[in-house]
Assembly symmetry: C2
Homo-oligomer: 144 residues x 2
């Protein structure tokens, strides 16, 4: 296995060059790019997203096995989970549990930018410092 894989997607403002329109579905989402196949992810699926004002996800969906995290990194909008409707903006982070219905919309006047990550509910065995090993070797950059 490769130690790493990488890709360059360009400026987030150009994300609408990506369209997610899976075959045999009515789904046609402008500004959504998934990273799973692109990078060969095995632990998670991730998308980067740009929604123009007054666009968003015009259907609810839920997940069967995966927990989903929404990280809003620019703009303003609204989200619904189950029957709760709330505002989101740059710096809002929302975890949605398996089985809950969710949708969201760019209700602002600027583009809405967000990252969505899904991974197996309960699947994290170790994290942060527990999972990390520090390597005693200097980095090549020097703090000036």
């Amino acid at each position: 296995m490769n130690a790493y894989t990488k890709a360059t997607l360009g400026k987030l403002s150009d994300l609408d060059s990506h369209i997610f329109a899976p075959k045999d579905t009515p789904i046609h989402l402008v500004g959504k790019v998934f990273l799973g196949d692109l990078l060969g992810l095995t632990s998670m699926e991730v998308s980067l997203n740009k929604d123009a004002p007054n666009t968003g996800i015009d259907f609810f969906h839920s997940h069967k096995n995966n927990e989903e995290l929404y990280i809003f990194i620019g703009g303003r909008g609204e989200m619904m989970v189950e029957n709760d409707r709330f505002a989101v903006e740059e710096g809002s982070v929302v975890k949605v549990a398996t089985g809950a219905k969710r949708a969201w919309w760019n209700t602002g006047s600027e583009n809405l930018y967000y990252v969505v990550v899904q991974a197996q509910t309960g699947g994290l065995k170790s994290s942060k410092l527990d999972d990390a090993e520090i390597i005693e070797e200097k980095v090549p950059w020097v703090r000036t």
Copy 2:
């Protein structure tokens, strides 16, 4: 279990109000906030990060069980994985496999912003449309 949990972290430019300095370690990282405990994540650990120019991670580390994804959302820098050193910038996405050593640095003149996600290598059982169920119910927002 709650259908969702959420938090508001504020503008990404204010992320340096967060300091990650775990006890009994020399680690002191300004501008790093983890979401796992904050949101009760069970599938992944996630951090939001802001590095000022000429700062970064001045040690290498690897992971034992987790795949890690770096999503660069603003600024420019450099990353090393094993012996490869490469440029990253807004829109760069890098998956690093378990066991590989990695470090990065803000070599630019602006702040470097990025999201880091870790989850169990091989832990994703179903993803994207496989894991999703569409719910036939109109969203409350109306496209004008």
